[in-house]
Symmetry: C2
Subunit: 386 residues, 2 copies
């Protein structure tokens, strides 16, 4: 395996009836900004639980954070943080709210130029400080609860960019699996697919002799395949909800990606479909991944065979047959969850492919674990998913 | 799975040629006590690498920490820490040195009574502060590099006790797998067995629907079974050394034990064999575990069958047959590594069983994940290993 450094100080508080523990975690004298999304936390009772637990805390609220949160919205919140001298951000919601909260935390204290640089020039924009963050997670999917990653969309230009910093890791994240009980099917399915493909991005690359990382990745994939359908079948069954939630966290907390190559091309291409057509993040991944597996089968040959055998039990045929079968199994899994995997099913016209390849050409992008996916190959991957 | 809390802020620096990075991690103005053992670090060159990296740091040394480190030795070091106003402890060595360093760190600042209480009354002795610790790990085995656990022996009374506190987690641990190259066979074998049984203590209990934890545990067991013999066969092969080292860390950093029942009876009984007969820690575990699996097969029935099938491929016969076969496979694995598994092979007389059961009777001990192993059953487990 490669050399690596790993540090993840996020405190996880996991389990039934844990939301009230937020009272022990938020600093007593903090002035808190509670961030949330479209208001589902008020329907589900999570908002009430948090407010009750924090009744003695000086707290103001910032709701209305979008799915695929907007840079413009975050900047409004960052202004409030500055104006109100907020010193703790409490994110109550799913990955979008938490990603937005991370950007707000960094942008409010950013003094090295335009906060947009944090997203558009992540290699050079140094985040020296950020407001402290805590999270109550209501939707297992993104893994944002145990990492320093954030993805933000600039509404003005329909650009979707990511940044990452240890400074925006939550101090704590409360994960109560009963939050899954109130999720609609679509959000459960999206969460399962999102977590699954987070694992794939760190696993389905090339062999570097990393059996622990490989097997941990396979552990999460197998668990998602087993537990995802159980969650969809019975939303009030605690154990599958808990296993799904813990899988999604472990999928992207840095552990399985330590010491191994990583891909992330599926995400980068998928982001364009969200930015241009508003398709749910996870669904864009379900569209792109099968095309990427198909087009990059030479780069990924050994790992595709390992994935096929260990995850789907595929042992018959030549390498190409086995890889084809692994792609079919993966597509069928997403479809079984109710997630379509082709562009036409989402009404995306063929012309979009040209728009996306032009964007990657302009950026001079070289994607994937071998940095060899150029804009032309992005086009091939997309055409394979028409 | 059970509710749990998990927080592990240890920074891991893993890989080839990483020891010099200690210079970036030790606080610049700290007064450092470098702790080490019997001097093997001087023969292997690790001492020289550390000293060179820290040439500008104010540093004194405390060597001679024993395998199964003595309380009495630690207390001498704690006095030096106080007298010299040490504010950082750098452990350079294996798990024994690091465990001792953790106790020194806590004892030096302990103000609630006799520091022996930290070990003898771990439920009530509160560790409010500890000197900051860093580690350069030279021997994969105990997992001490990524947890807050420590095991110390009182030489005067031959008692071996453990304590655990987040305050003594290392700030950083440097893991250079090339340190494995200079280890004798016996230390490699002991390390593999130690890590293996750390996993077993957190896995081989009863079913609580925890597929992620189970599969992560099985991932580590399988990797140790594959990589351990490779390390023994060729000490200069980097990749197996690296995989062994990472396995040992993951075996006991709290992750696989989160949300599941834990046993630790094998350790508690094994500690007596070390205290009374000086048998290497890992070897005491290899003696006890097969007896525990045999005697506690009813409690552990489902997990023993899962262990047999997933780790050893055992699918034939009735439950008792399968469990017997799993025990045989486990014993053979330890023996293949050169680790004997019966009391007589270590020259332990039958009378020792009475001494040990009397100790457990006096303590009123109830061991195991169901707290149902009393002193009589401890005797049965030991007699099964004559």
């Amino acid at each position: 395996m490669y050399n690596f450094e790993y540090k993840n100080p996020v405190k996880i508080i996991f389990g039934k009836d844990t939301i009230s523990k937020v009272a022990n975690e938020v600093p007593k004298n903090a002035k808190v900004l509670l961030t949330y999304g479209g208001g589902s936390i008020k329907r589900t009772g999570v908002y009430e639980q948090v407010k009750t637990a924090l009744k003695n805390i000086d707290l103001i609220e910032f709701g209305g954070i979008e799915v695929n949160p907007h840079y413009e919205t975050c900047m409004k919140a960052a202004e409030i943080v500055k104006a109100e001298n907020i010193d703790f951000l409490l994110s109550v919601g799913g990955g979008s709210v938490l990603d937005a909260t991370k950007f707000i935390a960094a942008a409010a204290l950013y003094e090295n130029g335009d906060p947009w640089d944090i997203l558009s020039k992540p290699e050079t924009a140094e985040i020296e400080n950020a407001i402290a963050i805590g999270a109550v997670l209501t939707l297992p999917a993104t893994g944002s609860e145990m990492n320093g990653n954030s993805v933000i969309t600039k509404f003005e230009t329909l650009e979707k960019f990511a940044f990452s910093s240890p400074k925006v890791m939550p101090q704590f994240s409360i994960l109560d699996p009963e939050c899954v009980f109130t999720l609609p099917d679509k959000q459960v399915a999206n969460g399962v697919v999102d977590a699954f493909i987070h694992v794939i991005e760190q696993y389905l690359t090339f062999e570097v002799n990393s059996p622990i990382q490989d097997r941990f990745a396979e552990s999460i994939l197998t668990t998602l395949i087993e537990e995802g359908p159980k969650v969809l079948a019975d939303r009030n069954d605690y154990e599958p909800a808990a296993n799904f939630m813990w899988s999604a966290t472990m999928a992207l907390n840095g552990l399985i990606g330590s010491g191994v190559p990583q891909d992330w091309a599926t995400h980068q291409i998928g982001h364009e479909l969200t930015a241009l057509h508003g398709i749910d993040h996870a669904r864009t991944l379900a569209i792109i991944l099968p095309g990427l597996m198909h087009i990059k089968r030479t780069n990924k040959n050994d790992k595709l065979l390992q994935f096929g055998e260990r995850i789907w039990g595929i042992t018959q045929g030549n390498d190409d047959d086995k890889i084809d079968a692994a792609i079919v199994k993966t597509v069928k899994f997403f479809e079984t969850l109710g997630v379509p995997t082709t562009l036409h099913e989402y009404g995306v016209p063929e012309e979009t492919i040209g728009v996306i390849t032009a964007r990657f050409e302009k950026r001079g992008a070289k994607l994937g674990e071998k940095a060899d996916i150029d804009f032309k190959e992005v086009g091939e991957i997309l055409r394979a998913r028409l």
